[in-house]
Symmetry: C2
Subunit: 359 residues, 2 copies
Amino acid sequence: MPRKRPFAPATIHGESLLSGKRRPGVTLHDVARHAGVSSMTVSRVINDYAFISEASRAKVLKSIEALGYRPNAVARATRTGVVQVGVLYSNPNSSNLSAFLMGAFRKAGEIGCQLLIEPTAAHPTPARAVAKLIDAGVGAVVLPPPLCDDAKILKLLAAAGVGPVSFATARPSPGVTSVAIDDFEGAAMMTRHLIELGHVDIALVRGDPSHSTSTRREEGFRATMAQAGLAVPDAYVVEGAFTYRSGLTAASQLLGLRRRPSAIFASNDDMAAAVSAVAHGMGIAVPTELSIAGFDDTPVASTIWPQLTTIHQPIADMAATAVELAAGLTRRDADDEARKHVLAELTLVVRQSTAPPAG
Amino acid sequence: MPRKRPFAPATIHGESLLSGKRRPGVTLHDVARHAGVSSMTVSRVINDYAFISEASRAKVLKSIEALGYRPNAVARATRTGVVQVGVLYSNPNSSNLSAFLMGAFRKAGEIGCQLLIEPTAAHPTPARAVAKLIDAGVGAVVLPPPLCDDAKILKLLAAAGVGPVSFATARPSPGVTSVAIDDFEGAAMMTRHLIELGHVDIALVRGDPSHSTSTRREEGFRATMAQAGLAVPDAYVVEGAFTYRSGLTAASQLLGLRRRPSAIFASNDDMAAAVSAVAHGMGIAVPTELSIAGFDDTPVASTIWPQLTTIHQPIADMAATAVELAAGLTRRDADDEARKHVLAELTLVVRQSTAPPAG
DNA sequence: CGAGCGATTGATATCGATATCATTCCTTCT
DNA sequence: AGAAGGAATGATATCGATATCAATCGCTCG
């Protein structure tokens, strides 16, 4: 029985979507003809190849400009070979996931590589998720925390000859390419902000101890406090797990103290949001009676009210970089060790949850 | 001055990522050779072309199975022409964004089309965002609410010959392809759940009146209440705007009433989360003294505590479908009007925020 | 002054798939 | 029986780019 018409061209609402109608439509060959050189010369200019005369380069660039040429990533990928890059993610609810995906997919589209997204939650163990990606034939894998700190996973990948890229780890293994932020410095920035507002009694809600970032953030906090000559009582540092619920517990603990802190620095936004909720529940006004600071600048930070003062990380850009590194398409002289550990820039975002202490 | 080595092959950690090492490596031609037919026959089988003898089809399918062949989407896209699909999104904080992106990109990878994501917030008006996508040469655009209900936008697209796909609108225009849920039925499901628990005094927090979904959800709520013979006092239906902050206001209003409702149904999870926070603040126990219901099953629903009872929509699948429709690659006889309005399945997810009323 | 070498450029094959057109068989009809 | 037409298949060109190899073109050097 017949199933389809013989290769009916793809249309939508009667309009053909195929090449005949493609708007840009300018190819590398058009540029070559326009510039009076060969296609290869154009290709070389685009790819920033050495040994092109300045004259040729100029001609080609002018033609590219004149024709509005944009290289076709897909076509490029056919010849270079599609690099498949695996991306693991652990927490489907991670608020940064969408920014992460945006950046990762944008870059993937640009360089024409295929992304395989694999939720670790769908497998009995993270190792199984990695195995699945390896079986699928990926050439590299992007590992968000806490997987990036997992020696077993790294060994598994090494055995399969698949390159790992650590994402947002605070303690990058020396031999492993990584994209991260300086958690120590981020925590220090926020702590300085609170100190400058006049706070003295500052408490910290720690993150999940199994994440390397937790430790670094705590270190940044303590170092800055020490530098300012401020004491950090033991009671002012409580355990958390990066979850909203753990933030509720931590907040109850801190706000129940006889000598209540005037500011609470939570190691991430979810916990800061929980602190905010508890404070509301106890009738403590934010920020006049209590300043609350978060970390990550996830969507929740600007969702809740008052909006959270937090540390912004350029997650999308970082994800893009991670994918680029993973695809190994940086194409520069790769011996350069430095570019294998990329640190992204942090920003202190002051919103409505912090203010000078009362009295 | 030289910039790069002459086309240094892309490597990562010294391992080549290029075709020489590609694991799957099985091409259509390998399958053809194995099956003893021409490449075209294999291509036709893959594409479900009519007029293939059952014998050939069987042989090819067996070879595909034997060799573990998987078509290369990228290569396919070079020949068919890359279909660029634009995706607009309005709220960068929308909690469903990541699920949406996941689904959209997964499908895009499968069918080898390129997605252009454009935040409307980056433009003075939504129309400008649409114009940018049109200029970029997209063949179709996926429109989430409230853009999908905007006649001006639709006209703009029609003028450019770009096909629109409405996403999650409650009121699909007849001529426009759409992927949506039945908001009326979803609201009815949740209302029935509350009624079955024994609630009688049920309040509703409406959504943004400019979204068609708000109206449909309210209608579903009212219809179900009426069907159960329950009254809905005017004071029990308050305005909201789908934001956390609007939820705070609405909650204060409802929980301040002399005769307090025993259950509050918020038109989305963000507002439900706000209701939960206000209840905490007023010392009202959830769910024993107050049941709270949300809608959408966004990450926040399982983040906060107690976790929200809500209506789950398969956002990722819906996004995938939207992209598929947009790319116009369904390839089946497209005259079938029915498949142009896809309704996704809803699920009632009962968590800890609802329970029978006290007393 | 010719060999030798590096810089610069182009011709051609190729990537993995589909589009197009041609071809081979059968049926079936006149 | 021969023409006509449709089912089934294959040969070849093509998509837009890069890889490879060969060919120039100076220049320097012995």
